[in-house]
Symmetry: C2
Subunit: 430 residues, 2 copies
C-alpha cells in the first residue's frame, strides 16, 4: 500500500470545515484518483468548543497551529487562518522550513508575501499551492500555471469579488442604491459586517496581484494595483449604463503595456456583448488572453464552503500525485520585479456623470474643458428637469489618456454649476 498523504489543517471556519467534509465524503474516490489515501491527521483552530457539524474523531487537536508546521507525522499543512501577516505568515514559513507542503486560501498573505514564500517553498522542494485563494472553485490558477502554460499572456481580467458582483447585480435588478443593497446583503450574509475589504476593492486587488504573478512571471506586487471600489456607483449610473449598452462590473485587470504591467481594480462599463457582462450575482469569472490560445474564460462560484473546499482538495491531490512546481510557474529566482505601468498612462474610454444646474452655458463650459485636454466626446445624455434644478449629464469619451481625463475632471468639478464630485467609470473594450 502506498503511504497516505498526511494532512494538518489550521483554521476550521467555513472553508476548513468544508475540507474536512470533502475528505470524509470522498475518501475512497480521492485515494483512487490521487493514487494514495488523503489522511487528516491533525487540526488546529481558535475554539475547540465551537459547533462545526464535522466529525473529528481520530484527528489530533493542536492548540497551537505551529505544532502542525513542526509535527513529524504531517506532510502538508493547509493554512485557512487568513490575514496578510501574523499567525498565518508565521505558520506558512515554519511549515515550509520544516519541509512541509503548504496549501493556502489566503490571498492577502500571497498578495503581500507571495514572492518571498514562493522562494522559501522552492528552496525546500515543497509545494506552495493556492487554487482556493482566487475565484473559489474555478481552477484558474491551474489554468495559468499549467493549462495555458504555452502562452504569453497579454491581458487577464475578471470578476473576482462575489460580494461586489452580487451588490451590482441586485442594484440593477431592483433599481435601488448602493447603501440599501449593501445593508440587505449584510443581513443575508452575502456581505461582511465590515464590508471594506470587499466593496472597496481590496479583496479583488489581492486576487488580481496573485493572478498577475502567475500569469506574467512577475513578483506579486499588491502595492502596484490601482484600487477603487464600488461605493460611488449609483442606481442612476447603472441605468445609464444599460441605456448605453453597458453593464457595470467591478473588474480586476492586468495587462502588459509599453510602460510595464498595469494592474487595476475599479468599476468598469462592459459591453453587453462581452460574455463577462453576463456573469451575475455571486459568480466569479476570469478571462485570460494568450497569444496562441486566444481568449478563454473560466466561470463558477467564487466563494462558499463547497467551491473553496473543492479547490483546496485539488491542490491536495496534486501533492499526493507528486505534482510539485514553482508557485508562480517559473523558478522564484527568475521572477521579475514588476515595473508598474503608471495609471496616468492608462489609455481608454470614459463615462462621466455630472450633476449640473440646468442653465445655459454649462454644457459649453464642460465641453470647453474637455476640448482643452484634447478629450474627444463620443456621446452625451441629458435627462429631463428636476425640482432641485440639478440634472444628471452623462458624457462618454473616445480613447484618451487617464492623466488628461483626471485633469479635466478636476477642472470640471470646480465649475460652480457642477453640484457634486463627478462620477468617472472607465469603459473597457474586450
Amino acid at each position: 500500500m502506498t503511504q497516505p498523504l498526511k494532512i494538518g489543517i489550521a483554521g476550521l471556519g467555513t472553508v476548513g470545515a468544508g475540507v474536512v467534509k470533502l475528505l470524509a465524503e470522498h475518501g475512497r474516490l480521492l485515494a483512487l484518483r490521487g493514487g494514495r489515501p488523503l489522511k487528516l491527521v491533525a487540526v488546529s483552530a481558535r475554539s475547540k468548543a465551537k459547533k462545526r457539524d464535522i466529525d473529528l474523531s481520530g484527528v489530533r487537536w493542536e492548540r497551537d497551529p505551529m505544532a502542525l508546521a513542526m509535527a513529524s507525522d504531517i506532510d502538508v499543512v493547509i493554512e485557512l487562518i487568513g490575514g496578510s501577516g501574523g499567525v498565518a505568515r508565521k505558520l506558512v514559513q515554519t511549515a515550509l522550513r520544516h519541509g512541509k507542503h503548504v496549501i493556502t486560501a489566503n490571498k492577502a498573505l500571497l498578495a503581500h508575501h507571495g514572492a518571498e514564500l514562493a522562494a522559501l517553498a522552492e528552496k525546500r522542494g515543497c509545494s506552495l499551492a493556492f487554487e482556493a485563494a482566487v475565484a473559489g472553485g474555478i481552477p484558474v490558477i491551474k489554468a495559468l500555471r499549467e493549462g495555458l502554460v504555452g502562452n504569453r499572456v497579454s491581458r487577464l481580467y475578471g470578476i473576482l469579488n462575489g460580494t461586489c458582483n452580487y451588490i451590482l447585480t441586485t442594484m440593477r435588478e431592483t433599481g435601488r442604491d448602493f447603501g440599501a443593497v449593501l445593508a440587505e446583503a449584510q443581513a443575508a450574509g452575502y456581505a461582511e459586517a465590515d464590508p471594506t475589504f470587499d466593496v472597496d476593492g481590496i479583496d479583488a486587488a489581492h486576487k488580481l496581484a496573485v493572478l498577475t504573478g502567475a500569469a506574467f512571471g512577475t513578483k506579486v506586487n499588491f502595492a502596484g494595483v490601482h484600487v477603487e471600489g464600488i461605493r460611488r456607483v449609483t442606481a442612476a449610473d447603472i441605468q445609464f449604463a444599460e441605456e448605453l449598452g453597458y453593464r457595470i462590473k467591478l473588474l480586476g485587470l492586468a495587462r502588459r503595456t509599453p510602460y510595464g504591467i498595469e494592474q487595476r481594480v475599479h468599476p468598469c462599463m462592459v459591453s453587453l456583448k462581452a460574455p463577462i457582462a453576463h456573469i451575475e450575482g455571486v459568480f466569479n469569472a476570469v478571462v485570460v488572453e494568450g497569444d496562441f490560445v486566444g481568449t478563454t474564460m473560466f466561470q463558477g462560484r467564487g466563494a462558499g464552503q463547497g467551491p473553496t473546499a473543492s479547490a483546496v482538495v485539488a491542490d491536495l491531490v496534486d501533492v499526493a500525485r507528486g505534482h510539485i512546481m514553482p508557485a508562480f510557474v517559473v523558478p522564484a529566482a527568475r521572477l521579475t520585479e514588476t515595473k508598474v505601468s503608471p495609471m496616468g498612462r492608462h489609455v481608454g474610454a470614459y463615462y462621466m456623470r455630472l450633476m449640473v444646474q440646468d442653465r445655459p452655458g454649462v454644457i459649453a463650459a464642460i465641453s470647453g474643458i474637455l476640448a482643452k485636454d484634447r478629450i474627444s466626446v463620443e456621446g452625451m445624455l441629458q435627462r429631463g428637469r428636476s425640482q432641485s434644478g440639478e440634472v444628471p449629464v452623462v458624457i462618454t469619451t473616445h480613447e484618451t489618456e487617464e492623466a488628461a481625463m483626471q485633469r479635466a475632471v478636476a477642472r470640471i468639478a470646480k465649475l460652480k454649476a457642477v453640484a457634486e464630485e463627478p462620477c468617472i467609470i472607465r469603459i473597457e473594450q474586450f
Copy 2:
C-alpha cells in the same frame, strides 16, 4: 543542465505546424516554465515537399512515423495523424510499448480505443495526454483530471463542435436555412468538404465520450452515445426558439441517471438565461457540475492552429515536469464498464414542430395522441395561413419520457393532415 525533453511529431497539418511554431517562438519561456528545454528532435508527415511556413532545420525527417515511436532519442511522441484506427492507433500503441509518452489530439482514436490505450500507457508508466482532443485550447481535460478532482461530477455538457455552432449562429443571425449556411461555411473554410463528422454530431460524440470517461471514471464508450446532428434544424425552428426564449445549440451531454450513464449529442433548446446559450460562432464551452464546486463553465476557441497547439504544449510541459497520471484519472483497471442509460428512459421537455394542413380537427387529433401517452402540453404556437395550405404548429411539452414522446411522434407523423416528418428538439433545463 537538466536533460531536454526530446519530442517527435507525427503529422504536420495545421496543428502540427502550430506546435512547431509555438515551440520555436516560446522556446526559452517553455524551458523556464517546464524546468527543462523542450527539444523537437524529429518529425514525420505524408509529404515532405508541402509548404508549411515552419523552420525544420536541425530536425530529423522520418518517412515512416513508426520510426518516431521506436527512436532511442525520443521521449514523447505527438500523434497528429488522426483517424480512429490505422496508422494513428498503431503509432500510439508502438510508442507506448517502447516506453514513450504520447500526446494526441485524436478524439476519434480515444473515443474508440481510449480505455485500451490508457491501460497500455499505465503499464509502461507513460503519460497518455489529450488536452487538444476536446474543446481546442480550453484546458477542460485538465479541469476534470485535476482542477475539479475533488468532486463527484453529476452532469457535464458542452458546445463541442465549432462548425455546428457557427452554422447555428449564422442561421439565426441571417434567417437562412441549413443548406445555404453550410455551403457558405464550406466556401469560407469553416466546414469540411465532407461535413458529415461535424454536422451529424459524430465529432461532438467522440469528444463527449472522452469527457465522460474522464469525468465519471468509466471506460470510454462511444457506442453508448445517442447521436443526432443539426441537418433537420430549420430557420423556422430557430425563429420559434427565440420567440419561446430559447436558443438552439448542438450540445453533448452526459449525466448519471438511475439507469447508468446517459450520453447524448443532439440539438437542444437552451434558455437564453443559461450562459451557454450565449456561446456563439466557432467558440466552444464546457459546463461541469460537481457536488462540491457547483456549476463551472470553461469557454474558448475549440479549434484552430493556435488554440490546439496551446493544448498540445500544455501536455508537453506536464510531461517535462514529470506530472504523469492515469489517462482517465483513476487506474485503468479501476475504470468501470459504462452502463448505458437507455435513451427511451430519458426524461425531459420537448419542442415539436409540425407542418399541418390548416383545417378543423387537426389540433384535436394531435392533442388526443399526446394525451393518450400522458404527455402534458406546456404551450402551443400556430402561425398564420400559407398558400400551400400547410402551416407550422409548434407544441412544447412538460417533462415526459422519451419513449412516450417517440410513440406519440410516430402516431402523429401518420396523421393525414401532417405534411412532413415532425421535428423534435429536446428542451434542456440548466
